[in-house]
């Protein structure tokens, strides 16, 4: 160990070796190969040949599959919003109100992950069945028309993604909430932070209306009535439940968790195709479905590779923009509203 004593700079380098080697062998090299294959033309039988002139594959792929790209972005965004809406109150309750049940509840959040992703998705088929446990009773009461269904619609796909990625949002938010010193919240109250009535009701109403309108549009449901419901719910939640201390202390301090959680949800959600395959229909396919079909069924490797790189580049740009807008270094400043 004397060598490390004389050259202390070596230690961090050596610690980096396994990670870098892993990434180089299992990520960089194959990704580079994949990048090369996006410049191929030809077919399995005739053989493929490489030419830089084949960059046109990118434009063609983007143009041909823009609908699926757009849908992936919309579905992933909707799922991220929904996971946030479910996760935040859940994480807040576990962090501040669960007492000695904290660990049990955190375990329960992860528990579904002990079964396979696929089985969890298939079980939604049973849950959302046309006459299943969710819709059956509503139909019997006459609240829904007989031909109403959730499966094979965008709702089923987005809900499936939301469910499958929920813990990725809940856990980071929980971790950042858990770290918050409650004395900061108490101090805010001592300094006359009260309920958040007037501005809260307006803010919550506007935000709730917008979110509900966007979701309704993606779900192909009536926009105006749902926006009204969303606005009302948002106004009531923000005006009655949320305090000024939460808005000025807790929420800003938990933003790193929200940031991490939304990235962990949105990135895999854009590429997901299992939910669209099992719960969707021909008009809800996502870019993952196209890549799978190009690669496995059509043996069209250049297009599959090009689509993958377009997706990667798109995600990278979006994440960079998001990080700039909501970068972690700004979050600790604790600017309120």
């Amino acid at each position: 160990m004397t060598i490390f004593r004389h050259r202390p700079g070596l230690v961090p380098l050596l610690l980096l070796v396994p990670g870098i080697a892993w990434l180089a062998v299992f990520y960089v090299y194959p990704a580079f190969q994949m990048f090369l294959s996006s410049f191929w033309s030809g077919s399995l039988e005739r053989g493929f040949s490489f030419s830089l002139a084949n960059w046109t594959t990118y434009g063609a792929a983007l143009d041909r599959y823009k609908e699926q790209f757009l849908r992936s972005i919309l579905y992933a965004t909707a799922a991220t919003i929904l996971t946030f809406l479910v996760s935040y109150p859940l994480a807040w309750t576990i962090a501040f109100k669960a007492g000695r049940w904290k660990n049990v509840l955190v375990f329960l959040v992860i528990a579904p992950f002990f079964t396979s992703f696929l089985l969890r998705t298939v079980s939604w088929k049973i849950l959302l069945g046309d006459d299943g446990i969710a819709l059956g009773p509503l139909k019997q009461l006459g609240l829904l028309p007989d031909e109403f269904r959730v499966l094979a619609t965008p709702i089923a796909v987005v809900f499936g993604i939301t469910y499958n990625f929920l813990p990725f949002m809940t856990l980071p938010i929980y971790v950042s909430l858990e770290k918050i010193d409650v004395r900061l919240v108490e101090a805010a109250r001592d300094l006359y932070a009260g309920p958040w009535r007037r501005s809260g009701a307006i803010f919550g109403g506007v935000l709730g209306g917008i979110v509900a309108a966007v979701l309704a549009w993606i779900f192909e449901l009536p926009v105006v009535p749902l926006a009204a419901v969303g606005a009302l719910a948002g106004a009531m939640i923000a005006g009655l439940l949320i305090s000024e201390a939460f808005v000025r202390v807790t929420l800003p301090l938990s933003m790193p968790g929200v940031f991490a959680g939304s990235l962990l949800v949105v990135i895999p959600a854009i590429g997901d195709y299992v939910n669209a395959t099992l719960l969707g229909t021909t008009s809800t396919t996502m870019i993952g479905n196209v890549i799978q079909s190009r690669y496995l069924v059509s043996n069209d490797y250049p297009t599959a590779a090009a689509l993958s790189f377009i997706m990667m580049a798109g995600i990278l740009l979006a994440v960079a923009a998001y990080a700039r807008a909501l970068g972690t270094e700004n979050l600790t400043a604790g600017r309120g509203l």
């Binding site: 194959p30 699926q68 049973i126 496995l296 599959a304």
Partner: protein, 402 residues
């Protein structure tokens, strides 16, 4: 003793579970983890002359092992030990060899992805015997990625292959493929809701709007559209194929079709989400145990026939032993033993008579040993060139939104 017909697991084409997992892998691959398998190469045609049916040479001896890849639940299996298969035990005992039997094939395209790289590079795939569906077998013949059988080593196969499976256009001399099991695609419906359905036109009937599924298996789905238009699946032109796609698109655009599925449709038929499906015979037999009103029927205008084939991949290390296995399962007694458990269509002559001795109910099932009249109503899809296949896959992918 064979179990009762209805309670047995009959899940071939496990597109749902296997396919999706494979798809996962493929997705990862597409994102950049397995690009190594795509080295461009010369067309496989350059891989030297194929040995033609040689005159019987001095008898080779069976090798110490045989690597056999098949679909899950596709061979007779011991009730108490799922790793034990009597047919394979019998084979081992007779030839003093070991059989490494792997249930690794869940999807034709996915398995093709796993053997493509070595075959392209002219290397041994590690498998001596694989089981793939007719159209994929045709593609492998086209790519010259299969070994020709030495017909002198497989007399039972030569004598006992059912006539209906002989000489497909992609293997007119029956030297590359030995059918393992076959199945039919037809109307699968809940008769309690739909009443009796007899025509392929039911798949375009607005009465079942949103309650009807088609198959992601292109040849099955397009096959029904060709039948509806009165075109032959054996001789159709690409123009007729495009008309068939247009016919399917009408149903999709009118939102008649709930989804295109693998064999998940069977579950949906049981739950009632779907009342009519393009269905595989074996799936419906199995699901009748859960819902008695389910019916499988070949439409009056005709239905699709598909079959899975034992194939010897190019460069297989134990070709002779693979031929012994093919010949072994073409003995009527052994075929009956497999059939008593598997319940798909048996391609072996004489197996019916053998099975009648132990399980007459199975031997008389029209879905396991179809009558000549049934055989006359079903047919497969013609083989295609690569360019045709690309055109067809693209058109179908556009139809299903991928």
């Amino acid at each position: 003793m064979p179990e009762p017909l209805l309670s047995r697991p009959v899940t071939r084409r496990a597109v749902l579970v296997g396919g999706s997992l494979a798809g996962f892998a493929a997705f990862l691959a597409a994102c950049g983890t397995s690009g190594t398998s795509n080295t461009p190469s010369e067309p496989a045609a350059s891989s030297g002359p194929t040995p033609t049916a040689a005159p019987p040479t001095p008898k080779p001896t069976p090798s110490a092992e045989l690597n056999f890849a098949n679909w899950p639940l596709y061979i007779d299996t011991d009730d108490n030990d799922p790793t034990k298969h009597k047919t394979l035990e019998d084979f081992k005992a007779e030839y003093g060899t070991t059989v490494k039997y792997s249930e690794v094939i869940n999807d034709n395209d996915e398995f093709f992805g796993t053997i493509k790289a070595p075959l392209q590079a002219g290397q041994d795939t590690g498998w001596d015997l694989i089981v793939l569906t007719d159209w994929m077998a045709g593609r492998l013949v086209r790519l010259q990625w299969l070994e020709k059988f030495d017909l002198g080593n497989v007399p039972n196969y030569v004598n006992n292959l059912q006539d209906g499976f002989k000489a497909p256009d992609w293997d007119p001399t029956n030297e590359y493929h030995a059918p393992w099991q076959a199945g039919m695609t037809g109307l699968g419906y809940d008769s309690a809701v739909t009443g009796e359905l007899t025509s392929v036109n039911a798949f375009w009937d607005a009465k079942w709007k949103g309650k009807m599924t088609y198959l992601t298996e292109m040849r099955d789905t397009v096959g029904f559209a060709l039948i509806k238009l009165g075109y032959s699946r054996q001789t159709f032109t690409l123009d007729q194929f495009d008309q068939a796609i247009a016919e399917l698109r009408k149903a999709v655009d009118a939102k008649l079709v709930r989804a295109f599925t693998g064999n998940e449709y069977a579950e949906s038929l049981v739950s009632g989400d779907v009342v009519l499906a393009m269905a595989w015979s074996g799936d419906i037999i199995q699901k009748q145990a859960d819902k008695e009103t389910l019916v499988f029927r070949i439409p009056d205008e005709g239905g699709n026939l598909w079959y899975d084939n034992m194939l010897i991949p190019k460069g297989a290390a134990h070709k002779y032993t693979a031929e012994l296995m093919i010949d072994f399962v073409y003995r009527p007694v052994i075929a009956a033993q497999i059939e008593a458990w598997v319940n798909y269509i048996c391609p072996v002559k004489g197996a019916k008579e053998e099975l009648a001795k132990t399980a007459p109910d199975l031997a008389n099932s029209e879905l396991i040993f179809p009558s000549a009249a049934t055989y006359a109503k079903v047919t497969g899809f013609r083989s295609t060139t690569e360019a045709e296949e690309t055109h067809m896959n693209d058109a179908f992918a556009a139809l299903i939104g991928a």
